[in-house]
Symmetry: C2
Subunit: 529 residues, 2 copies
């Protein structure tokens, strides 16, 4: 094993250059930083410059039988960051593959490499004055677009399902071949980035949430800027109206009225993105006592549930949609609306508004802007929720600061009944382990709610870290038992979703076919070799 690694390292150094093969302790340390409880240390980190070098690296890995763990930017926060699933992997960091190959303004797509970040594409569109937007996540502006697509992440706009809105991949296979999917393998195809399924078997899916190949290029569909944009929002004082509200939202979603993703955040979810845990007010006690919680709710004017979604179109279209939303939710909640003009003025007067109202207008507007594809660092403050020391003012470095965060993301049917059952389960377990219940429920698709439960803890506190780990294990078990299967999972819980059934058997069989030496990401959404 060790001999193999040595051999591979020396060959890799020749292939990608001495300085791009790192196995010094400092670097290995840095790549082992992660916000889930268990860190996994790699044996080296490689930084190829382009696809050609990726192919070389892969061929060497195959001959030496050393497993590679490809990452794009390693910003898989809450799910394991850059850490491999298993020990003794070599991380293949693709950040130097950061070309934006093409932005087609007319046909509204971009072609990007793994290293291209949310911020980078945003800047590119701005600099070139291209009137297109893309769907962003609340994760770091430095997160990779391609990485998020492959994890099947989601965002806020009408293109919130990232995998759905991608088209045609370039994949380096375990033997170094380059596979182009969709119509991409017809050299002169004019519709490579325009039509998702291609002809013949649709292969792209098997390269998402898997370990069958390294995706080195992908098409991302972009959204044209609408004539007008606005945000509707409402809050719900307690759970009594929540079930019925979800029922009505589902009808609106199914009817195509809610074209953007709509988010339902509970109080802690909002509060934790506005401030850190009130250690002083609680005299260090956790979880958050009810009275303090009420105080903070009032301070930030946050209710038990806080809902927001974007609306796009002409003023007339937005008004017609808003009317229908209001009519549907009448008697349950009061729906407010902020037009783009209003958001513009809020941004201009954030300082005086903050003085008058005491509200952090900047943070709230940055969330609204997420709904139209503007990346922001602000939601990351949530990583610091349970930290004793103060979060940085500007640039957050949650991994370095040992912020603890585990995300658990079950999909539940979009019904009132399931929402309440899910919440009861979640609250009871979180409370039992000493954590606040931090939940968002997101209407990304028409029929299921993408839920995210965040377990925030201080990774510098070993006891709290242990509790977080136990809490996560328990909560995940309960979801699986209840039939609320997660849509995505952290690198240390992969084994929980694996079972001996024909689905996972077929995954293993495809793995053996495409990667017979198991050199790609052992154990990543698949049984380890």
């Amino acid at each position: 094993m060790k001999a193999n690694l040595e051999k591979a390292l020396s060959q890799w150094k020749e292939a990608v250059g001495q300085e791009y093969v790192r196995d010094d302790e400092a670097m290995l340390d840095r790549y082992s930083w992660c916000n889930i409880p268990k860190s996994v240390r790699a044996s080296a980190i490689l930084f190829p410059a382009d696809v050609d070098e990726v192919q070389k690296v892969v061929r060497i890995a195959a001959v030496c039988e050393v497993p590679l763990y490809p990452i794009s930017q390693g910003k898989n926060w809450g799910y394991g960051a850059a850490c491999p699933v298993q020990e003794d992997n070599v991380i293949l960091d693709l950040r130097r593959l950061n070309k934006i190959h093409e932005v087609n303004e007319k046909l509204a797509y971009a072609v990007v490499e793994p290293g291209v970040t949310q911020q980078q594409l945003y800047n590119y569109l701005k600099e070139h004055q291209i009137p297109l937007e893309f769907d962003v996540t609340g994760a770091s502006p430095e997160a990779s677009l391609l990485g998020n697509i492959l994890e099947r992440g989601y965002g806020q706009t009408p293109y919130s399902d990232h995998f759905l809105n991608s088209c045609s991949m370039e994949v380096v296979l375990a033997d170094g071949r380059i596979l182009e999917t969709g119509f991409g393998h017809y050299p002169n195809a004019k519709t490579r980035y325009l039509y998702k399924w291609g002809i013949g078997p649709y292969l792209d899916g098997i390269f998402s949430q898997s370990n069958f190949g390294i995706v080195t290029k992908i098409g991302i569909w972009l959204l044209p800027k609408p004539p007008h944009f606005g945000v509707f929002f409402f809050d719900i004082p307690d759970d009594r109206w929540l079930g019925e509200t979800v029922e009505r939202l589902r009808e609106l979603k199914l009817q195509g009225v809610l074209t953007s993703a709509v988010h339902l955040f509970n109080d802690i979810r909002v509060i934790s993105s506005l401030q850190q845990y009130p250690w002083k007010e609680t005299y260090g006690k956790t979880p958050l006592p009810e009275e303090v919680r009420k105080d903070i709710q009032r301070k930030h004017r946050v209710k038990a549930w806080n809902c927001a979604g974007g609306l796009r179109g002409t003023r007339k279209q937005i008004r017609a949609n808003l009317d229908r939303i209001r009519k549907s939710l009448r008697g349950l909640v009061r729906v407010h609306y902020l037009s783009d003009t209003m958001i513009y003025w809020l941004e201009r007067f954030e300082q005086p508004l903050k003085k008058i109202s005491g509200l952090d207008v900047r943070r709230r507007v940055s969330f609204l802007n997420l709904l139209r594809g503007i990346p922001t660092e602000n939601p990351q403050l949530a990583c610091y929720w349970r930290k004793r020391k103060k979060a940085p003012e500007d640039h957050y470095t949650p991994l370095k600061d040992r912020c603890g965060l585990i995300w658990c993301s079950p999909m539940i049917p979009m019904t009132g009944e399931d929402v309440l059952a899910f919440l009861q389960m979640t609250r009871s377990i979180c409370t039992q382990y000493g954590f606040e219940t931090n939940v968002s429920m997101n209407l990304v698709t028409e029929r299921a709610l993408d839920c995210v439960v965040a377990i925030s803890y201080d990774k510098e506190d070993p006891h709290e870290t242990l509790k977080a780990s136990e809490c996560h294990r328990e909560i995940l078990k309960s979801y699986l038992e209840a039939g609320y299967i997660p849509y995505r999972i952290d690198t240390q819980s992969m084994n929980v979703i694996l079972q001996d059934d024909p689905f996972w058997q077929v995954c293993r069989e495809i793995k053996r076919t495409l990667d017979p030496h198991h050199i790609f990401s052992p154990g990543h959404y698949n049984f380890p070799p």
Copy 2:
């Protein structure tokens, strides 16, 4: 080979019953009927009753190494009907698997087997007064829903992309195992039919347009009935305005204004669904002379291009969308609108209206109704376009009547430039071989046009059949050279899209893994063994 078949036949008879294993000449004849030029004869036809019997049949086929060609209803018209790609296959006709397992009214989905037809689901929803619709095609009401999904066909509503709007498959593998995709393999999953991607590799795609397994059950997403429905339509007198119109339609599609599929039909496409070829007026001459064409255009009030799309929502929403459509197309075309109330009255007064206007109102309304998911036989008249004998009045039997029809369906970028290049190419080749240019261009997705070119001929005329075959080969070749790759292909042209590249290599490798004895549909969207 023959000995193997004999052995298999006797075992199959035991497994599914004597009467459901047919190899009599009459039956083999009937299953060889197809409307593309080359018919392929099967060596037997099996009719299993359920999944259990399908598994038994498959296991016997694997042991005896006899290839099976599964069909749902065999209505793959224009693309090869029920005919296998190669000789000596045994057709596995799944029409007896025709259970509607579930219709979930709240979460808007149905779970169906391969034998369930468009008409059957339509009737089911009507009988049970379930206020849901589904996307239909203009093909036979007796066409299978599942079969069309697997061929990645499309229809007319907001759910026009059939594969996209399906969720979780049950697949019988070549060794008889049953694979359940999406969340379906978690026995208690509550979101099996609610969330498409599941967790881990997304496998469903590899069972569409392929030969890796037999899909025996699938979830289909249904549409809630909208408060109001209407149709906008316009025509374009000649190609001069076509390019710019397509440019504006793309913008509307990208902006999310055109939520349903929008169809652009050329004159012949519309005329051929209203009448047969005017043999008398042309004195038997083909292709259609220009003067006669103009006369028929006037008679049916059809223009060079005829466009229609559905609108859904409250009256206010429809008005706002319609306004935007009209504003966008102003100066190019005049957009008309028919509300649901108007369609209702048209239907009631079709007889007097026909008398007054001479227009076949019934046929036109039936097309409008397709836009809201009501299946109809009417478009099938187009199969009879070039037949000398008169088409039946009521129930069409185009295979039996030896109607010739080949569909060629390239995807082209949704730009004016590509539309004009595509049309020029198509017209020049069709005319050269003596056929009318019969084209529809469909805005199913946001960036590419799903085009369908129909070559209609009389299969009883050997010379015309040969010409049709040559015309098709030539046209397909030109599309591939121009980079307009088809989204789907007929069973006798599969070899044209295969090439020795990593995409098709990987397809072969997966095939070898999942079906080592090549018992499923040899040559179907894959290299033959």
